[in-house]
Symmetry: C2
Subunit: 190 residues, 2 copies
């Protein structure tokens, strides 16, 4: 998606440890008109897949998921992150390893909001090591719902997440894939 | 807002401790078309106030803020919750007491995204004891920006937050105000 590549070049910042900060337009400050365009692109990509629910995980996925859901005319469900040890019986849950914070957390979705008749498009801002996406996928499968695919805004193509997720058979559509980047601001897109 | 009152009566659930669960349409599963109507109503209420930024706090405010920002054609900034002890120098911060979890946490906004020229509409899903809103207001004032008002989806009129916030002089517009509710599902709107 050219618009997004241009925006990353213009406003993204690369920090040591392969960190790409896009918090001026995607995940702290949010350019809602850019999210509209992102939503339209996901709609185009998954137009014929009978999507009736958008699933994401708090927090930075929520805005993208809402603007995408608007294009599909379907509801959003966002998984909640939890570090409490007591998980209620009426929720689906998956354990996610955070490489960034060096710990595990649970993501949780109420059983009320994911049913076998659901055809679920999973949306997230980043795909890097793929752990959060694997957790969301596990929850969709546990619910007996159909995961029609994952719509990712930015995939770090030099990390293993994309390969890991595609090997499960899930269709992954990333609007941009970054093959390499450095702190001088050079970002190479696939 | 009649549409919202009807929806609360139909799908809201009251639990002991004056807890109103609206997670089937507002803060776990999200009815995006309802959020569109909410956004239009906030736009109508703050139409002539020169709003150029929407501020909220993660997570459940983000969807509402995005659909509201869409109506105004302005960006969203969402404050992040943090429990880390080291707060960086390049952020505005406020300490917030959570009655629900019985502890304090910090909310944080990067200084890059709030400037003296900003006219800020604060958006949140609930106003109960008002602590989160006070924190957001403090951040706007510290930034030297103008808080034009707060747009709240559901105000619990029987808790002290609304009074507390209005006493600061901030204009508060709540789409519904609940005067009382009980576990039999009786909800009385103001």
């Amino acid at each position: 998606m050219q618009l997004l590549e241009d925006r990353i070049i213009r406003d993204g910042k690369v920090f040591p440890g392969n960190i790409l900060k896009v918090d001026s337009f995607l995940n702290h400050q949010i350019d809602v008109s850019l999210l509209e365009d992102i939503g339209k692109e996901f709609r185009r990509l998954f137009e014929n897949d009978g999507v009736n629910k958008i699933l994401t995980v708090e927090s930075s996925g929520i805005g993208i998921a809402c603007l995408t859901a608007q294009q599909f005319g379907v509801p959003v469900v966002f998984a909640k992150k939890s570090q409490t040890k007591n998980i209620a019986a009426d929720v689906f849950t998956a354990k996610v390893h955070s490489y960034t914070h060096g710990r595990y957390y649970d993501i949780i979705v109420s059983k009320e909001f994911l049913k076998p008749e659901d055809r679920v498009l999973i949306i997230d801002d980043f795909l890097a090591n793929g752990q959060a996406l694997l957790g969301l996928l596990k929850i969709v499968k546990t619910a007996g719902a159909v995961p029609v695919g994952a719509g990712i805004v930015i995939e770090k193509g030099f990390q293993e997440g994309g390969k890991l997720i595609r090997e499960t058979g899930l269709r992954v559509e990333s609007l941009v894939i970054i093959d390499s980047m450095d702190e001088k601001g050079n970002v190479v897109f696939r």
